[in-house]
């Protein structure tokens, strides 16, 4: 019998190769590690190549990218210059932009298409483009820098990050503008970082090894940097029967709580705007109340944003 799985696996295997990396790449410029950016150019041969499973994920991204471009065109959008190559000699920077999309007024926007999992899409939905530089997933941190560099290289005022959730097909457009001072400032910081990379390469220097979150899974972690590993303080082993009983009880109540919430929500929906007496035992009333809601414009709200430390409790049964 013809073996499709094996054939596709072999095909993906053939697509795994080490591509030359003589210049900085726009798609990687937002990487949080300076050493990674230097090694990518000076010791790229030590990069661990993706395995077939990771390659399959990359290929999936390419499939979605091509499909999205087709879809946008079918929906009537004018797409030009697909996969246009950019090079910024002075910054030793190159890149390939997915496409340029043309607005009704003829204005051109660089477009970067990204497909993602449902969990990542939930992050995207709550974010503005520049928020992604603080994302937990370090590959998301690279997206704003990538589009900003395309905008700077091609003299585009605005750009679009276009996300597609691979399971449900939901989509989200994140706009990014060089008129936003924060975007411009971030773009300049990326260019300064690339200048530092170029300078170090000229001097044959390497940034020192420093363990950061992005080390986990980095292709240089176990071949060029060897930063070691620190798994933190660890957990206390506690023998306390009272605590044990409380945790057991918490688990028992979990099901009840879920059932309580489900019934409450069902009744809330059923009786919205109505009153009823049920079985001569229960009086159910749905009353309208007016609450004051403060609709603060995003740009004003943003000025008051502050990072706050919170403790989140996770309980897992072993």
């Amino acid at each position: 019998m013809i073996n499709l799985e094996e054939g596709i696996k072999e095909y993906f295997q053939k697509k795994i190769y080490l591509s030359p990396h003589p210049l900085n790449r726009a798609s990687e410029a937002g990487h949080p590690c300076l050493r990674y950016l230097v090694l990518s150019r000076t010791k790229n041969e030590l990069r661990v190549l993706p395995d077939v499973n990771l390659q399959a994920i990359f290929e999936e991204g390419n499939i979605h990218e091509a499909a999205e471009l087709r879809l946008l065109q079918e929906a009537g959008f004018k797409i030009i210059e697909q996969q246009r190559a950019f090079e910024w000699k002075e910054k030793e920077l190159s890149g390939h932009i997915d496409a340029i999309i043309v607005g009704e007024d003829g204005k051109r926007y660089p477009l970067e298409i990204k497909s993602c999992s449902p969990s990542v899409f939930r992050v995207i939905q709550k974010s503005e483009a520049l928020d992604l530089i603080h994302a937990r997933q370090h590959w998301l941190q690279k997206y704003p820098a990538q589009i900003i560099l395309y905008m700077l290289m091609g003299n585009y005022e605005e750009g679009i990050l276009w996300f597609k959730e691979k399971v449900s097909g939901k989509r989200k457009q994140l706009n990014i503008s060089l008129n936003d001072p924060a975007v411009l400032e971030y773009g300049e910081s990326i260019l300064k970082k690339l200048e530092k990379v170029n300078e170090m390469i000229k001097k044959a220097e390497e940034p020192p090894v420093e363990r950061i979150d992005a080390c986990a899974g980095c292709p240089f972690e176990k071949t060029a940097c060897f930063p070691g590993l620190d798994f933190g303080e660890g957990a206390d082993i506690v023998d306390d029967n009272e605590l044990l009983e409380k945790l057991d009880r918490l688990e028992e109540l979990r099901e009840s709580k879920e059932e309580y919430d489900a019934i409450w929500n069902e009744l809330k929906e059923k009786f919205q705007g109505k009153s009823a007496i049920i079985g001569a035992k229960w009086m159910v009333e749905s009353k309208k109340q007016v609450r004051t809601e403060y609709q603060i414009p995003q740009d004003v709200k943003k000025q008051y944003a502050a990072q706050k430390e919170v403790w989140v409790l996770h309980i897992q049964k072993l």
């Binding site: 041969e45 190549l49 176990k222 060897f226 590993l229 798994f231 660890g234 957990a235 206390d236 072993l318």
Partner: protein, 281 residues
């Protein structure tokens, strides 16, 4: 960690971490004052504690974190990291050594990763090595033959040596070397995954010859060749039909037995071809 160098010439990474030195000092003080009975009792408690730690560590993992390798349970990196987090493991920056070796098949490199680690929670300190070479069967062998070393992806060799080291350090720091199937069963873990190295044996000369003849008869069409081989190799035994569609599936004995049949078919095909050519001329 800063790269300070102490007056005695030792780098800071050569020294025991402060918290570990404190633990060791405390233990030294206790051991000075114990009677034999106390020592025995402490040892018994130690064994009990060790078994409890082992149980807790195993319960932090699940069946997805284990594979069967050469018939033994093997903890994968993801599972080792879950345990390391709970026991506060710190792994120092490893030192990598590259060694050239030579055997009858030529020169090759071995990567040796030397490392040390400690558990903040258990106060254990361990040193170990992880190795991998350009003779590693997962990277160096293709179709039963050793690949030239230039074709072996060297970063994968280094990575595997380091990953081996990290795995060994974590397991040794927690005391999880030599975990048995019974240990896993007691922790409620059922291992379903198996890592097998599928060694492709080189084809026997007979099988190779069969392959060449069948492919030629099929005009170079691989699918047609498979179908032709299926038909040529088919035989019946105890009411059951057997056949192969790839020469790689032929045993040496089967290939020897099949070769005359395929040769006969091939010669007839050639003869037929030359007769057609003669007719044309």
């Amino acid at each position: 960690m800063t790269e300070e160098i102490k007056k005695d010439g030792r780098g800071i990474e050569d020294l025991l971490p402060l918290e570990l030195e404190n633990i060791i000092q405390e233990q030294e003080i206790i051991s000075d004052e114990r009677s034999i009975d106390q020592i025995v009792s402490d040892l018994e408690r130690g064994v009990e504690a060790y078994n409890r730690i082992k149980q807790i560590a195993l319960r932090l993992t699940n069946s997805q974190d284990w594979v069967s390798m050469n018939g033994q349970p093997f903890l994968m990196e993801k599972g080792a990291q879950k345990i390391a987090r709970a026991f506060g493991v710190f792994i120092f920056k490893p030192v990598i050594e590259y060694l050239w070796q030579e055997d009858s098949k030529g020169k090759y490199q071995i990567v040796i990763a030397h490392g040390k680690a400690f558990s903040r929670k258990l106060g254990s300190y361990v040193e170990d090595i992880g190795t991998c070479s350009q003779r590693d069967k997962f990277f160096a062998v293709k179709d039963g033959e050793l690949k030239p070393i230039e074709e072996i992806d060297f970063p994968n060799i280094i990575k595997k040596a380091v990953a081996n080291l990290y795995g060994r350090l974590i397991k040794r720091a927690i005391g999880l070397m030599g975990i048995t199937w019974d240990d896993l069963k007691a922790a409620g873990i059922e291992v379903t995954q198996e890592v097998k190295y599928k060694e492709k044996k080189p084809l026997s000369p007979e099988a190779q010859k069969i392959g060449e003849m069948v492919l030629e008869m099929a005009g170079g069409d691989k699918e047609a060749a498979k179908s032709m081989l299926r038909s040529l190799s088919e035989f019946e035994k105890n009411g059951k039909k057997y056949s192969v569609s790839s020469v790689a599936d032929l045993s040496e004995a089967w290939a020897k037995k099949l070769l005359p049949k395929v040769e006969k078919e091939y010669n007839e095909w050639r003869k037929l071809g030359s007769e057609v050519e003669d007719d044309k001329s």
